[in-house]
Symmetry: C2
Subunit: 442 residues, 2 copies
């Protein structure tokens, strides 16, 4: 490995001559000094060189000028990959409070052209389409990178929490033989001459695996041929899916979800603190018990009689929860049967309602979940009631022929989570390489 | 949650009356006693009831018979989901050394039919096609489940090790605009009316993200339209991908891979010890430095002049490494340029050879990796030498226009890893729901 000190660790090497390596984040030539700000995966570090040294410094002064093909004070352009060797000295104005003086620079790779916008400016000086078209370089901007760090920390916290609760990680097929879960918005493909589809969710498989491991999760891509261009939908997104057996009802699922969300936030605080600071994000507190409101009550409060919640209602309800319960999270329970998939368990106490729930977070639906049916005959009946046969579901229904425990689960979209958490207006801002109606590259 | 004690924890409740819950793994009615063996996610537990109680026991003796619709000593059939309440007593013959006596049984769900083979027998009494056709129930067999537990523990160890080494997790597109990496064996799909393809690897994206995070990994599905029916290929598998910048050459990548493999094995020992025991698997030791042999030397030893290694040669070399170096792992370095993808970095010291390597494990190629090109002009030249233009690679090449560090990485197939580790002859045995030329369900 290139022998180097990370920029965040400079303070530990005060007085020593060390090598750092990274990208030229910014070069600045002033009258008597030049600065190079170097970016590595831990942050920024500054190297400073004086010009116009007295001639008697001679050979011994070589190190006082930036070198490596940039004689005469020439500085490598932004995004050059460099190693910089220098002496670490304290400077309260430098990033991290230390800088390198008497630097020598070795260039490892030169850029062919300037980035489409300046990566060193504190704000992103380009519109979203430009950012997305140039993702490989745009994501180097610390603000854009920060969202993805938070995303990675969130997924780690999700897995960590569920591992602790006895869940097992699974990997399920993304290519499936029938477009069954919702029918619409599915990508078709040619599978060795047969029609096949990209999985819209691991729903059927995670349920089946509840019969094997009782508690399972998957972090993986799901695919929706979403024909609308919205700020909250993607054609591919990362779904955090969990499913667990031996529940009493959906409230047990909600309790696990509460733990998962709290674990995600704890992990973000632990692992992505600099990213939070950079974005000025204060992660929310998760109440020990997230407030819950029944769908019919949510309708009453928002004076609606639609069988689903519109985005404006979700926003209103989130504000209400914040006001009434001091919570940025709100469960809405008891969604109507007509709006939930056939595998949803009905609420035994309220005809027409289900044991399905949504979790709203800062004005938007973040998670959908619920208790599922677990008896084979209930599936046959539920499909018949929707005018469907069991043929297309044979693989799925197999699990239920052999004894399945009462179970339920949930799915959380990672990009949407990160967008809500960081205040990004568009879910594309929290995806490295988004896929949508119009975008298939980079 | 259903209030219960896990079967593995019965010993902690000796003398108490507790409830366990799970599947009826086996029922046995003998002359004077009946047994129910219950399977939950932690293992097996036994409940035993005596028959023919003297009539005077009357109502007080209710609990001495299995109940819950199985009066008269009737026992719920295998794969019934049950709660069993009983008193914990020591019995050296019982699984775990404790059993439940005076049991009461409540049935939560009944199976519609018997499983396609007996799940309680120590060996799997069905051929692979039967197992795969009935995966949702077949995977409940402890031996089949064990492989997936080892797989989950391995992936956790991979992530844990790379997290510790400063890597960031990424999620990359599985739908791509051009079938570029290898050209052949790619699944085509209709993307909103445009042709698109399923990604064969996250190769291009992980390289680009090295420009953002320096060190990245992804655990996710990759897709190969593999037209051959072999025991080591799948149409979808889980790839453990890593890529890192600021390397000197491929040996830095090999050192990180060594750490990742050691971390995977450590995690398997920690998290999946019962699964290892059940399968009788002794995980290999990873040498502090895995032995490495140059490709030309491997050719000489196997008396070959082909530019790639055949399976028989891989087996021979693995045996040689075991014999000569006491290692079940062997690196083969310096693969010929003609057999490696265009992005492979040449070996500066040996014309025609690359800084690409494979890792052999127990007779089979487990990992492919190497140093990549990192300068834009080197990519243009490498493509031209293969008679290709840069058009199809524009998104990919973008990263290299803006300064990329020397970097490299590797990819490890999770299913193949688990198969090698557990001695499974077919990679389909270590995949919950495999996809191949003939199989698209369940």
């Amino acid at each position: 490995m290139i022998s180097r000190v990370m920029s965040a660790k400079l303070a530990e090497h005060a007085g020593q001559r060390v090598t750092i390596a990274g990208w030229v984040h910014r070069r600045r030539r002033l009258k008597s000094v030049s600065f190079l700000v170097i970016r590595d995966r831990t942050g920024l570090a500054q190297a400073v060189a004086e010009h116009h040294l007295p001639p008697e410094v001679g050979a011994a002064g070589r190190g006082l000028l930036f070198e490596g093909g940039f004689a005469g004070g020439g500085l490598p352009p932004e995004e050059s990959v460099v190693e910089v060797t220098g002496t670490v000295v304290a400077n309260a104005q430098a990033p991290g409070g230390y800088e390198l003086v008497s630097p020598q620079v070795e260039v490892l790779a030169e850029p062919c052209e300037a980035p489409p916008f300046d990566l060193y400016r504190p704000v992103v000086g380009a519109a979203l389409p430009t950012v997305l078209d140039h993702a490989p370089v745009a994501l180097r901007h610390p603000l854009l990178r920060a969202g993805l760090e938070i995303s990675a920390a969130s997924a780690a916290g999700f897995r960590e929490t569920l591992d602790r609760l006895g869940f097992t990680e699974i990997h399920t097929p993304k290519i499936v033989g029938s477009a069954t879960e919702s029918g619409a918005n599915v990508f078709g493909l040619d599978y060795f001459g047969r029609p096949a589809y990209l999985a819209q969710s691991p729903q059927f498989y995670k349920q089946a695996m509840t019969g094997v491991f009782e508690r399972v999760y998957e972090v993986g891509p799901v695919f929706r041929a979403e024909p609308h261009d919205t700020v909250r939908h993607l054609a591919q997104y990362t779904s955090l899916d969990a499913e667990l057996g031996f529940i009493r009802d959906h409230r047990d699922v909600m309790a696990v979800l509460r733990e998962a969300v709290a674990g995600m936030l704890e992990s973000v605080r632990d692992r992505a603190a600099p990213a939070l600071d950079l974005l000025g994000v204060v992660p929310p507190e998760v109440p020990a018990e997230i407030p819950a409101i029944h769908f019919t009550e949510a309708q009453r409060l928002t004076s609606s009689d639609e069988p689903d919640l519109a985005p404006a209602q979700e926003r209103w309800l989130s504000e209400w929860a914040e006001r009434e319960h001091g919570s940025e999270f709100l469960f809405v329970t008891g969604y109507p049967m007509v709006k939930r998939p056939f595998y949803t368990h009905p609420d035994p106490a309220r005809p027409g309602c289900t044991n399905g729930f949504d979790l709203l977070f800062r004005g938007m639906e973040l998670v959908t979940g619920g208790q599922r049916l677990h008896r084979y005959e209930d599936y046959v009946r539920a499909l018949a009631e929707r005018g469907e046969g069991t043929e297309a579901y044979e693989g799925y229904l197999q699990a239920f022929r052999y004894g399945m425990p009462p179970h339920g689960g949930f799915a959380l979209g990672l990009e949407r989570w990160t967008a809500r958490l960081t205040g990004a207006a568009n879910v594309r801002q929290t995806t490295a390489f988004p896929r949508d109606l119009h975008r298939l590259s980079p």
